[in-house]
């Protein structure tokens, strides 16, 4: 320790030091994320086309039947066809009836 530094200058004993930069990592992370986003956006065209074909089939039926409300709220009859329900439908039991099923809390009464 007390030796002069000079004598050690001659040997460059450089152990393998990682050259991994943080910015490289960040770059890869952002690239991966962006690529994933790009891929799914590009695929959306294909998905939409597939769906289009399916929908057209379903539409044919609904268009023939003329009943077009999606079957999303089938817990009660007065929620099932929201576009046809009359003013009282949502409040069958009491005007202030707090919802007794989950779909009701998601659906306001039809507008006047």
């Amino acid at each position: 320790m007390a030796e002069s530094i000079d004598s050690q200058k001659t040997q460059h004993r450089m152990p393998p030091v990682s050259s991994r930069r943080g910015s490289t990592l960040a770059g890869w992370a952002l690239a991966a994320g962006s690529l994933a986003l790009l891929l799914i956006l590009l695929d959306s065209g294909r998905l939409a086309a597939v769906h289009e074909a399916e929908l057209r089939q379903g539409q044919t039926r609904a268009s023939l039947d003329r009943l077009t409300d999606p079957a999303l709220f089938t817990e009660a009859r007065y929620a099932r066809h929201a576009s046809q329900a009359d003013r009282h439908a949502a409040f069958q039991d009491h005007p202030l009836a707090l919802e007794h099923f989950p779909a009701g809390s998601l659906m306001p009464p039809p507008p006047p």
Partner: protein
């Protein structure tokens, strides 16, 4: 000059190196922050994507709804209407076609499910036959050729032969649907001949719908007329409302998150203050310090945004949103299996991006501002 070799670029890369090293120094905390952030973006994006897709779907289905639906209201409640109304409206100017619709709801206590029964005018099933939707077939475990027994209005059982099951593709419209012969339906519900549930009108000139609706009301004072536009508006309202509730909720959480990040970061610890002083003393100017901090916040939040958004997209459009299905389904026994079509909305994505990334970046940058502008000699005096 090649951008990637310029001094400016090297400088920025060096700053980013430090930012990443900084993030890595508190790996646990930042990882937790990243995951929470990603989850939040995931939920927000899922709600937005799902709600919009559902709205588009309903809108497409509703495109085939009749232009006008006429209902009879008696004592404020829905009532069956007589075929005399049909005759009256057939002759109305502007009405191209009028047909009586025959349909209703049936609750099956055995299955605890609500069904929609419809007697179509177009190609009705033969008497004694019934056509059902795929969701129903799944739920009851029945198939073509089986017998479906339902209790009629008078308590007597009606036996139907299942002649067809609709293909899965149309489930959104037909999940709970049962199509039967008109005579069967009347017998089942106890609806006398000459009565209909409601009327569907086709109008020759679409821009005349309002006028025709008024004429109908004139002719039939006890009627309630629903225009297709109104139907569409109902669903817009439904989805907007629901989406709004969820978004408000999630945005509040987002805000709380940003505030928490701010709170944690504000009042720089003595250690962080010292380090900024060192950087400045070593030759970093204020701009360098701020940019470095900016990168720190931006890297975390942008990566979280990308991860969250991609996951949300996959969740909604590839996995058919299992999380929301559970919530939406509620107590429904019959629920349609359906997939939604994606549509790219850059404005929406950008809004989401700014709403999620900006608050966080601001929260990480603000506390540093003051310290970054101080004279570096502070670090000399200890």
């Amino acid at each position: 000059m090649n951008l990637f070799r310029s001094a400016w670029f090297e400088r920025q890369r060096g700053l980013i190196d430090y930012s990443v090293a900084n993030l890595g120094r508190r790996r646990g905390r930042n990882l937790g922050l990243f995951m929470a952030y990603t989850l939040l973006v995931f939920l927000l994006a899922s709600v937005v994507l799902y709600g919009d897709a559902l709205r588009r779907e309903a809108r497409q289905l509703l495109a085939d709804a009749p232009e006008l639906v006429v209902q009879r209201i008696t004592a404020g409640r829905h009532d069956l209407l007589p075929d005399a109304w049909l005759e009256q409206l057939r002759g109305l100017r502007g009405v191209r076609a009028a047909e009586g619709r025959l349909w209703g709801y049936h609750y099956d206590p055995a299955a605890q499910a609500n069904y929609t029964l419809l007697a179509p005018n177009d190609a009705p099933p033969a008497p004694g036959q019934i056509e059902i939707g795929a969701a129903l077939a799944r739920a009851s475990g029945v198939a073509v050729g089986d017998v479906l027994s339902l209790r009629g209005f008078d308590g007597k059982p009606f036996a139907f032969n299942i002649s067809r099951v609709f293909e899965s593709e149309s489930e959104l419209a037909s999940a709970d649907l049962m199509r039967v012969n008109p005579a069967d339906l009347r017998a089942f519900f106890g609806i006398e001949p000459g009565r209909y549930t409601d009327l569907a009108l086709t109008v020759s000139n679409p821009s005349e719908v309002r006028k025709v609706a008024e004429k109908v009301l004139d002719r039939l004072p006890g009627a309630r007329v629903i225009a297709r536009d109104e139907m569409r508006r109902t669903y817009e309202a439904v989805f907007n409302w629901r989406q709004g509730v969820l978004l408000t909720f999630l945005s509040t959480i987002m805000l709380a998150f940003a505030l928490l990040a701010w709170d944690k970061a504000s009042g720089l610890s003595a250690e962080e203050r010292r380090e900024i002083g060192i950087l400045k003393a070593l030759g970093w100017d204020t701009g360098d310090v701020l940019r470095m901090k900016l990168w720190e916040g931006a890297l975390l939040s942008v990566c979280a945004f990308l991860a969250g958004y991609v996951l949300a997209w996959l969740h909604v459009f590839y996995a058919d949103a299992p999380l929301f299905t559970a919530v939406l389904k509620g107590w429904s026994v019959l629920y349609p299996q359906f997939s939604l079509a994606p549509q790219i909305d850059m404005a929406q994505m950008a809004t989401l991006f700014f709403l999620t990334v900006l608050p966080y970046v601001a929260a990480t940058l603000a506390p540093v501002w003051r310290a970054a502008t101080l004279d570096p000699d502070e670090v000399m005096r200890e």
